[in-house]
């Protein structure tokens, strides 16, 4: 190979099965290539460009061969395959970009922003919801947040806010099968936060469970916005229908139901412009 192979692995699938420490045997195949490469590269330390004339041809050769070599190279390791605009016979095509550790070079909290994840207080299921991370690196040095290598297809996160609580949360609808489960989750997510907000105004540390979200009997009621921007009460349609159309959840005061649902719809129109 003209360019040195990056990691020497054969295919990404094998890569994942073989732990880093045991990959030595790959390198035996490469040592002979490597030595020839080293001999070719006996360079003087002159100013750059001195070797131009001799190697001019080989540089062009490198460039021309580039796409094909790159395609072989990209099979190895954690790279993306090159985009489908260049013709690759041997490259593996992937429909979505695969994960590369530490790429793109953005800080963790920006990745979370981009995937729509809100605070580090945690989501209902602790999944990053976006890029898969290389388990080896992220689990050991995840920056403060445990990120399990969970596939994004598995999680469907919607934002949920509650009246009187400044911090929003997220709920993974795919982890729920019924309205009851959802109601239970809402209680779990907000009970503590709500109590904390009340602490500042009144003394006492009671954490009241949040109940009656679905039947209008509780102090709070669960509502949602669907994919058309309309605001609805949760619980009217079969679960799977709800889950496929819900975009966002909101816990409102039961006393505000009528105004929230009518006023809300108009405002939603404006916000969506």
């Amino acid at each position: 190979m003209d360019g040195c192979s990056r990691n020497g692995e054969i295919s990404p699938k094998l890569l994942h099965l073989i732990p880093q420490g045991r990959r030595n045997w790959f390198h035996d195949d490469n040592t002979s290539v490597y030595n020839t490469e080293e001999k070719k590269l006996e360079l003087k330390l002159g100013p750059p460009g001195e070797d131009e004339d001799e190697d001019g041809a080989s540089i062009t050769r490198h460039i021309k061969k580039e796409p094909k070599d790159k395609s072989i190279l990209s099979l190895a390791g954690n790279h993306f395959s090159p985009s489908s605009t260049t013709n690759k016979t041997t490259s593996q095509k992937r429909t979505a970009p695969g994960p590369v550790v530490g790429w793109p070079p953005v800080r963790s909290f920006r990745k979370n922003l981009a995937n729509g994840s809100s605070s580090k207080l945690g989501n209902e299921s602790s999944s990053n919801g976006g890029l898969l991370k290389n388990q080896k690196c992220e689990d050991d040095n995840g920056r403060g947040k445990p990120m399990e290598p969970k596939r994004q297809q598995g999680g469907m996160f919607v934002k949920i806010n509650m009246y009187g609580v400044p911090i929003g949360r997220k709920v993974d609808l795919n982890a729920h099968n019924s309205y009851e489960q959802l109601s239970f989750t809402v209680d779990k997510l907000f009970r503590g936060l709500l109590a904390a907000q009340r602490e500042s105004s009144s003394s006492g540390e009671e954490e009241k469970p949040i109940t009656g979200l679905l039947d209008g009997n509780g102090e709070y009621t669960l509502t949602y916005e669907d994919n058309e921007g309309d605001k609805m009460l949760v619980g009217d349609v079969p679960w799977h229908m709800f889950a496929s159309s819900v975009k966002r959840l909101r816990v409102i005061k039961s006393s505000e139901i009528s105004s929230a649902l009518t006023y809300g719809n108009g405002k939603q129109e404006k916000m969506r412009s």
Partner: protein
């Protein structure tokens, strides 16, 4: 011999045409670290005068030197800046426990009773213990700036708040802080009225709003206030109302739908903030609230909307159209090429632009492309710094950008897909980046991406004479690439390389080069353990660190083969030898 010595003494005295105090006074006007380092090298007498008068010290790599030597040379130190982990730690390439602990520094400074007033740390591990010790040891301590640090909690902040009587700045930028629920703000005593900067935007937990409002109300000098996401709209309105002198504001969150009364109050408060020049935050903002800020936009010189994932392009554009004096803009790529065209026609004073990716799943949304970049370069004549994340690029566009903007000092382009070629011609982007380095004679920092061969490095070696920091990822073909850079860039200080086929030949070609640099990082390249060992032997003044998270037994003991590729190599010059705080997975050769 005597005559020679006398002559030398005469010469020295000639150097000091003025008495020491006068020279010291002149030195007071020399403030940049580079310049001060330079004057200290002129002669012994100047070295001595300089070191006793030096108040601000910058240490770019905390392992290059140690506290003892620092204090020996600069006993009158008042301000210290320390940087710890290498830059790629920002992208999770450096394990948590690698190092960069500030504790030994604070301990030493405390013991020496130096009159420390300011401490600025970047990528260091800070503990509550360190913060407590800091807060108790320096009676004149005024300013704490922590950037990308970790390891502490709000309890540490409480110590700072409680014990630093003259605290002026508490500036927490993008740190990982364990939030123990917001009582640290109440630890500022009622007598504390000296705050100028209060930035806690990176705290994730709830905030004691009452304590915060009281603190802001009794801080007449407060110029910079950056709130975290737990500060709702009505609290923001109240805060702005008691701090109309604010210059730099970080808005928390508008997650609550504001009732109209809160919004009106906010509008009224904003109108009074005539000194406001810099706006940031909007962590979760309802777009319609942005319009409350329109009245002060014409004064803004700095705008950071890069956390505002909720705001779509059109609202961003509406805001930016009012910002004619903007010099610095950080934004998400949801603004789109169209939005960048608006920026180009509105913000004629723009000097720095950063466009961050908003959709990292990457499929589909081509939010910004080479067109946006070209538009900016054409419309903003003062642009000198850019960080641009995009889905695609062409050589032609980069060549145009280079022609339009030969003044770049920092040029960082990140094409999201590694190895992606020019999307029109399928060629590598060597020519495009080459045009940039050729035209931009003052280029000090460069980050490359896309499909690149050795050719770009030839160009960099030839043209980038002022280049100090270079970031390389998935680029190059052979060791020649790296050699071009090492040979050609005389001012190189920080070189960081990942996933590129550079190996031992390049690494070992010119060992002395690394003495002129701060550090070199190479991960997933072709360097071998044997090569690194040879380097360490040849250059005892370097710390050659091999980082391998899967190997807790230190490589030498396991008898690893010399030809094994090194996963992560980090080397740096140092005058204090091997560090003693390295974790088991770091081998220092």
């Amino acid at each position: 011999a005597l005559a020679a010595r006398e002559k030398k003494k005469e010469e020295e005295e000639e150097m000091n045409y003025f008495p020491d105090e006068v020279i010291e006074h002149v030195f007071d006007f020399v403030t940049s670290h580079k310049d001060r380092n330079a004057i200290s090298l002129v002669c012994k007498s100047w070295f001595k005068i300089e070191r006793y008068s030096r108040q601000r010290v910058f240490i770019g790599n905390c392992y290059a030197v140690n506290p003892v030597r620092l204090l020996r040379r600069f006993p009158c130190l008042k301000s210290l800046t320390l940087k710890g982990k290498p830059h790629f730690a920002d992208f999770n390439l450096v394990p948590h426990e690698w190092g960069g602990f500030v504790q030994p520094w604070i301990e030493a400074l405390a013991r020496s009773r130096v009159g420390l007033e300011e401490l600025r740390l970047k990528r260091m591990v800070v503990t509550d213990e360190s913060l407590e010790l800091l807060s108790r040891s320096f009676s004149s301590f005024k300013s704490l700036v922590l950037v990308s640090c970790e390891g502490f909690t709000t309890d540490g902040l409480a110590s700072i708040a409680a014990n630093c009587r003259h605290l002026r700045d508490l500036d927490l930028q993008e740190n990982e802080i364990d939030d123990h629920r917001g009582q640290w703000l109440s630890c500022f005593p009622d007598t504390c009225t000296t705050l100028v900067t209060l930035n806690f935007a990176c705290l994730e937990g709830e905030t004691n709003l009452v304590a915060l409002e009281r603190l802001v109300a009794r801080s007449p000098n407060l110029k910079s206030l950056k709130l975290n996401r737990a500060v709702p709209l009505d609290a923001l309105a109240r805060l702005m109302a008691c701090a109309p002198q604010i210059v730099d504001l970080g808005v928390g969150s508008y997650e609550n739908d504001p009732d109209s009364e809160s919004y009106l109050k906010l509008e009224a408060a904003i109108k009074k903030c005539t000194s406001l020049r810099s706006l940031s935050g909007f962590l979760e903002a309802a777009p319609h609230c942005l319009s409350a800020f329109h009245p002060i936009c014409h004064n803004l010189t700095s705008l950071n909307l890069s956390y505002a994932a909720e705001i779509n392009g059109s609202h961003l554009i509406k805001l930016i159209q009012h910002c004619k004096k903007l010099q610095r803009l950080w934004i998400l790529d949801s603004i789109g090429d169209k939005g960048l065209v608006v920026v180009a026609s509105t913000c004629k004073e723009l000097q720095e632009l950063r466009v961050f990716p908003s959709d990292l799943l990457g499929v589909g949304n081509t939010a910004v492309t080479e067109e946006g970049l070209v538009a900016i370069s054409a419309g903003c004549p003062k642009l000198h710094s850019i960080l641009y994340f995009c889905q695609q690029m062409t050589n032609a566009a980069l060549i145009t950008v280079a022609k339009n903007c030969p003044n770049f000092v920092r040029f960082r382009l990140c094409i999201l897909e590694p190895n992606k070629p020019d999307h029109l011609t399928s060629q590598p982007l060597d020519e495009g980046f080459g045009a940039i380095v050729q035209a931009c004679k003052n280029l000090r920092r460069l980050s490359l991406s896309g499909l690149l061969t050795d050719q770009i490095f030839l160009y960099i070696g030839m043209f980038a004479t002022e280049l100090e920091m270079l970031s390389i990822a998935f680029a190059g073909d052979t060791d020649k690439g790296m050699l071009y850079v090492l040979n050609g860039c005389k001012k190189m200080r920080k070189l960081e390389i990942r996933d590129s086929p550079f190996g031992d030949t390049a690494l070992l070609a010119d060992v002395n080069k690394y003495e002129t640099m701060r550090s070199l990082w190479m991960s997933s390249c072709e360097v071998t353990l044997g090569g690194c060992k040879r380097l360490a032997q040849k250059a005892p003044w370097l710390n050659v660190e091999i980082i391998d998270e899967n190997d807790n037994n230190r490589m030498e003991q396991n008898g690893h083969e010399e030809s094994q590729k090194v996963d992560k190599l980090y080397l740096y010059r140092t005058v204090v030898g091997t560090r003693t705080d390295a974790p088991p997975f770091v081998s220092i050769l």
